[in-house]
């Protein structure tokens, strides 16, 4: 920074914090000052965030518009965003249509059951892995990660054959089993991080205070890991809820799920854009709400799980 010492009266305006990056750039002839550069990075960072946001949010907003406005307004060469013509009629139609409500129910049932099973099994498994040192502990954790490296498409046909063999084709149970199998390892992986973050001395204190293993788990470990467990649960729910591929393969008309049903609006010769968009919004709404509600936990959960191991 150059100091206007010679004329302190005439240059008081340089003393308040400059509003942009330009003053420093013009004053520092030998390249940008550190401050100016940092400000430059901040501006660039913000700009990239805005671009990313537009990239991710714009399609969703477009879908939202499609679900609310008559299709003919939007399919013109010059789309007419006449907000006075907004209508919720398609929502009303879909939410009274049993061929849409049934997949919705199936999706909710499957996602909820998967989440509950993952939480119940995962929390105990993760606690055991986090707290006990046993032979094969590390390989076990690695194996769980390794399962995630297998592309689902490779498993699709074997899974189809197994599920059909079990007589579970086109049932919600098929999905619950398969989702649990794919999501549980990740859930455990994440939860191990949460349990390991609990200081061992707390459990010693609990033992002195008279807790057995169960009480320690229920009164100390689980409450302390609660936010993490909730985040993991939300993660499991979202994953199960948004799956398209496995649901498409393992179910037919009998117990299809929302993503599959939504896709079915795209017919061979025609497409009901409004219905598809509306179904899309309805499908993504729980994901959106849960993510917003739990974004802090989820980020923490994912990173905590990521650095352990």
């Amino acid at each position: 920074m150059t100091e206007p010492q010679t004329e302190p009266q005439t240059e008081p305006k340089t003393l308040p914090r400059p509003t942009g990056a330009t003053p420093s750039t013009t004053r520092a002839p030998r390249g940008l000052s550190w401050k100016a550069r940092r400000r430059g990075f901040t501006v660039l960072h913000r700009f990239l965030l805005v671009v990313a946001m537009i990239f991710f949010v714009a399609p969703f907003l477009w879908m939202l518009l499609y679900s609310l406005l008559p299709a003919e307004l939007l399919q013109r060469r010059d789309p007419d965003l006449d907000l006075t013509r907004i209508t919720f009629s398609e929502y009303g139609d879909l939410l009274t249509d049993s061929s849409f409500l049934k997949p919705m129910g199936t999706s909710a049932l499957v996602a909820l059951l998967t989440t509950l099973i993952c939480l119940a099994l995962g929390s105990f498994a993760a606690y055991g892995i986090a707290r006990f040192r046993f032979r094969g502990r590390q390989p076990l954790l690695l194996a769980m990660m390794a399962t995630q490296a297998i592309p689902v498409i490779v498993l699709a046909v074997p899974l189809f054959i197994i599920i059909r063999g079990m007589g579970l084709f086109d049932t919600p149970w098929a999905l619950v089993i398969v989702y649990t199998a794919t999501i549980l390892p990740l859930v455990i992986w994440m939860m191990v991080g949460f349990f390991e973050a609990i200081p061992a001395s707390l459990e010693k204190a609990a033992r002195i205070d008279g807790c057995n293993r169960w009480q320690m788990l229920l009164r100390i470990a689980f409450p302390l890991a609660a936010t993490g467990l909730a985040a993991t649960g939300i993660f499991a729910f979202i994953t199960a809820w948004s799956d398209f591929f496995l649901a498409k393969i393992l179910t037919a008309s009998g117990s299809t799920t929302l993503p599959v049903r939504t896709a079915s609006f795209q017919g061979l010769f025609a497409m009901d854009y409004t219905a598809a968009a509306t179904a899309g919004v309805i499908t993504s709404l729980p994901v959106l709400v849960l993510t917003l509600a739990a974004q802090k936990w989820i980020v923490r959960g994912l990173t905590e799980g990521a650095v352990k191991g």
Binding site: K204, I208, Q215, A226
Partner: protein, 352 residues
């Protein structure tokens, strides 16, 4: 209530011996410190008394009852952890009440005991807060309060002051001593800080590398260290220790002119490890002196003067600010110093 007897207590991890053959008695109502450098087995010993770790051999008895097979909560003791180990999801009140609730203590009694403990520690205003809203010193008090509310016959402390800053540590130390006097419960306290050990304890158990070096009162430990390890570990500044050889009327530190007289008629070996406490050595400016001032370290009420004594060093502690300058020759007076002699091979104290 609360006499703890350790008999030949041993702890091994696989093939490594962590603690060997500990045998001593912590008397009823006594405050006993387990003192030693890190890795000496003091925390392991405490955990074994608590029941947080199994013993590999020997027995532990509290009030005549064998406890080493009992779970921690059946041993009637409370534990104060170094990191406080407060339950973050519970209020201060519930932290203090938790152990009592688990023991199905009647509600009104829990209330009374928690309030009493909180009053003793002046943490009543915080009872409804969560631990994270408290400062380190306040958390420390809650950890103490949790132990006190339990009213156990034995208190166990694992370096409870080491996470506090220096000023608070001294203050809390004084309060701990007061608390022990008020409550009168047997206490076992682990620390590596010899000053804490000396100030707080009725008895000190000095440990090194898994075995007991000496068990005795602070005075015995300080003035009659049983081994060279105890002599060098306890006392600040550290005791001066040299290998010395027998001469006509005493021991001489080789390469120096320092001769320390020993009583006549004593049966003593040719070479010994010789120890003198810095605060018992007198020094005076003397142009014909046998030592030269190397460093002067004033600490306010006292000054440590480090001398070059031939190839050896000698530390002397004087009261007040000594007016010595570096390089100045000084004479050494050891006539008032207690003599500590140790066997060169075993490190055991030799009677003088």
């Amino acid at each position: 209530m609360g006499e703890i007897v350790l008999d030949a207590v041993r702890k091994t991890y696989g093939k490594t011996l962590a603690v060997e053959d500990l045998t001593y008695t912590v008397g009823e109502g006594q405050f006993v410190t387990l003192l030693g450098p890190s890795g000496c087995g003091k925390s392991t010993t405490l955990n074994m008394i608590a029941g947080l770790e199994d013993i590999s051999g020997g027995s532990i008895t509290i009030d005549g009852r064998r406890v080493d097979e009992l779970p921690p909560d059946k041993r009637d003791l409370a534990f104060v952890f170094q990191d406080y180990a407060l339950y973050p999801h519970m209020t201060v009140y519930n932290n203090m009440a938790f152990g009592l609730k688990m023991r199905k203590t009647p509600k009104d009694q829990i209330e009374a005991r928690v309030r009493d403990a909180a009053r003793r520690l002046s943490i009543e205003p915080f009872l409804d807060r969560k631990p994270k809203e408290l400062s380190g010193g306040q958390r420390q008090r809650v950890a103490l309060g949790r132990a006190i509310a339990r009213r156990p016959s034995v208190f166990l402390f694992d370096e409870p002051l080491s996470n506090l800053d220096a000023l608070l540590r001294d203050q809390t130390r004084t309060e701990l001593k007061q608390l022990h006097r008020d409550l009168g419960a047997t206490s076992v306290y682990v620390t590596h800080d010899q000053e804490e050990a000396l100030t707080l304890s009725d008895r000190i158990a000095v440990m090194s590398k898994g075995h007991l070096e000496q068990y005795g009162s602070p005075e015995e430990i300080y003035h009659h260290p049983a081994t060279e390890f105890v002599a060098s570990f306890v006392g600040k500044p550290r005791m001066n220790l040299w290998t010395a050889t027998r001469v006509a009327d005493g021991y001489q530190v080789p390469g120096t002119e320092l001769v320390v007289p020993v009583p006549r008629g004593a049966e003593l070996p040719q070479t010994v490890r010789l120890g003198l406490r810095p605060d018992e050595i007198g020094i005076a400016p003397d142009d014909a002196g046998i030592a030269r001032v190397r460093l002067v370290e004033p600490i306010g009420n006292a000054t440590d003067v480090i001398l070059d004594l031939g190839p050896e060093r000698l530390t002397a502690r004087l009261t007040g600010f000594g007016h010595f300058t570096v390089g100045q020759p000084v004479s050494i007076d050891v006539s008032a110093a207690r003599l500590h002699l140790f066997d060169t091979a075993t490190g055991l104290r030799l009677p003088v």
